[in-house]
Amino acid sequence: MRIALENIHKAFGPVRANDGISLTLEPGGIHGLLGENGAGKTTLMKILSGYQAKDAGEIRVDGHPVNFASPAEAIAAGIGMLHQDPLDFPPITALENFLLGFDNRLIPKRREARQQLLSLAQRFDFPLDPEAPVERMTVGERQQLEILRLLALGAEVLILDEPTTGISAPQKVQLFATLRRLAKAEGKSIVFVSHKLEEVEALCDEVTVLRLGQVTGHEKMPVPLETLVRLMFGQSLALPDKTAVPLGETLLAARGLTIPGYRLTVTGGDLEVRAGEVIGFAGMEGSGQSLYLRALAGLLRPKTGSIRLAGEELVNRSYREFMARGISLLPADRLAEGLVRGLSLAEHFPLRRSTPFFIDWEANAAYTREQIAFFNIKGTPETPVEALSGGNQQRLLLALQPPDLRVLILEHPTRGLDMESTRWVWEQLLKRRNSGAAILFTSADLDEILTYSDRVVVFFNGEMLPPLPTPEVTVESLGYLVGGKRPTPSEAHET
């Protein structure tokens, strides 16, 4: 199946996500779609797979123009997409997820479907329990289920959007093997959407690079990494300076924490965080690191254990008492948990500062303008926060943090942000670190964890491994630890 995208345009308000993109996908083979966050890759693929409508342009399948009104039409034509957060139904079982939208009779043939699912799973060596509710599966397993479902529906073209985020190294190895097999042995076309150069380099036969909504280049692999870097960013990267900083005394000490969660109970080892330290928390989604960090922020109450901040026992106090003592959490979901949709930028500041009972709106507006300038936020005091881009929302969240924080906890601080915003965020975080705060963060990007952390803490299945000094860890070995395995020397070099 040969797919041609011609001059695709898609804008969201003033933002031109796809600005005249033309692209051809030849049958068979693995085609990489590379670009940093915000380049327009996901939008383009959502248009191709029928999830979103384009503003202008044409899509041709084998020369015939097509117009998909929904993903169901696209899959009927053989084009299926695996979204970054797989579009499944959490409380429903794997088998029913597989069945939904599949079979359009009144009463499904459950037994046959079960057989089909299990035999497909076996073919690709995916361990699947048809009766398990999807919400208890890891992201990697949910991806596997979704891939099987798309294949069962007859997908000839399989689009995967950032599939390696949040899965373990063994799962990644298996995924790549699966993709290679689908492309070579079964003649499917694979589109691998990613912002990770090394993975694209390792997996793809050819690469199209996007930047700011436009195609900057198309290369047949292999090609030097520098070429791809230049096409992706237009310039060479300069990471913020992470000079070593002498660590202060112990700020935060956590011992013996057990935190009950919906799916598992987290048992934490002991952790001592010193002033000026940056600690990265790695683990697949649902392994417990979020629960642990939220307990450290005072949002979750541990069943046992102690949390001491500068010697003071905090463990059974309220969230507000944690905040009052200088521990702050920036949640991953900026609009759902971090900012109040519907309120303007200016209206957020009185919530965090110590404001008198009667608000002086004039003074607040002036202060907001100062902060906008200082933090370089693209917006006005009256802009409602949901109109801000992800990067600007993160800037606002950082601007709202009090200046004298002792411990700053961040969930996925640069998720979905483009390179420039990512650099800016880390600049700010390192500045705080330099003035004595401790930074604790989770990320699905193992590179990010190793670049900025002094120590790495790995979570697997609710258990916290003892912290590792960063020099002792590589990306490969981290990928294995996250999956619960200790890598053998040969495995560590396989990806």
Partner: protein, 325 residues
């Protein structure tokens, strides 16, 4: 078994039928993701309308049909406002419940305290000869038997069929349902209208079966109780039905106790409000921290099963509008 107990149980079964229709209907609506808060007003209006239609035409069947139509219409307004106009479901439902109640008083004025047609008793062949069970369940009329069928049908539809599976998907995560080719808005309309029609049938069951005729505020708050029962039953048809029967039993118990000489000094109002207050208390208890601690005594697997039994989780996308972009 004591014939008095049997006849009491039979009357509980009969009196619960309107609430069964209403709460099962609302269960379907909410499982698809829509909250229809207009239940109380709808039941009033449909009770009045079905009686009026039956009185004027002599046909009980027409009364039921009319009630189903009106119920669907009112629910349709909630669906329209929520889906097309993106207004808050709770606000629109609340206004409708007051409006429908006032409409029932206004339009029903001429029919107050009139004697009209009612649904005849029709013993269920064969099954009514079963000992005990036969007398309790199968010596009623079509509407009551219908209430049994509705529970079974709702369960079967949601658990065993593809359309039911799609409906559950829409209520849990509409984006994923959309990605599977499900017409999310169509599904939501369909089940809201269906649920509304069932509520209407519940209203008709009041004025034509359970509490004959019409008077102002004829069905006193039963719509709100149906809403509570949906939550109480964890959006599961069997448990919802159980809640409805439990509520009916509490009410019957209340009337029985009222006649008992030991309770003659207790004011009548307590008996009237007790069942409602008890249901709220139960809801409060099961969602509270005490129950959390109780559940912690068990292993995680048992905990999960118990939690689903006692609490039940609402559809994740309940009350939230679906936006495609």
């Amino acid at each position: 078994m004591d014939p008095f107990i049997i006849s009491t149980l039979a009357s509980i079964v009969a009196n619960a039928a309107p609430i069964i229709y209403a709460s099962i209907g609302e269960t379907l609506t909410e499982k698809a993701g829509v909250i229809n808060l207009s239940l109380d007003g709808t039941i009033l209006l449909t009770a009045m309308a079905s009686f009026a239609v039956a009185y004027n035409t002599g046909s009980v069947l027409l009364g039921f049909l009319c009630a189903a139509l009106i119920g669907a219409l009112i629910a349709g307004i909630v669906a329209l406002a929520s889906i097309e106009l993106e207004q808050e479901q709770v606000a629109v439902g609340f206004v409708l419940t007051l409006l429908a109640a006032d409409l029932s008083s206004f339009l029903g004025n001429p029919y107050v305290n009139l004697a009209g047609p009612y649904l005849q008793q029709q013993p269920f062949p064969l099954l009514n000869r079963l000992p005990i069970v036969g007398d309790i369940f199968f010596n009623h009329n079509l509407a009551i038997y219908g209430s049994f069928a509705v529970i079974l049908a709702a369960w079967w539809w949601m658990a065993k069929t593809q359309p039911g599976l799609r409906m559950r998907g829409v209520g849990e995560r509409p984006e994923s349902a959309f990605a599977r080719g499900v017409n999310v808005f169509g599904v939501r309309y369909a089940y809201t209208l269906l649920g509304g029609a069932l509520v209407g049938i519940g209203g008709a069951t009041y004025s034509l079966v359970v509490k004959l005729g019409w008077s102002h505020n004829h069905t006193t708050g039963n719509g709100w109780i149906a809403l509570a029962i949906v939550i109480f039953g964890g959006w599961d048809p069997w448990k919802v039905a159980g809640g409805a029967y439990l509520f009916g039993a509490l009410r019957a118990l209340g009337s029985a106790l009222q006649r008992n000489p030991a309770f003659v000094n207790v004011p009548t109002q307590i008996f009237a409000t007790a069942p409602f207050a008890l249901m709220i208390l139960f809801l409060a208890l099961t969602s509270s921290g005490l129950t959390d601690r109780f559940l912690e005594l068990f292993s995680p697997g048992t905990q999960r099963r118990l939690e689903r039994l006692i609490r039940g989780r609402g559809p994740a996308a309940l009350g939230k509008p679906f936006q495609r972009d």
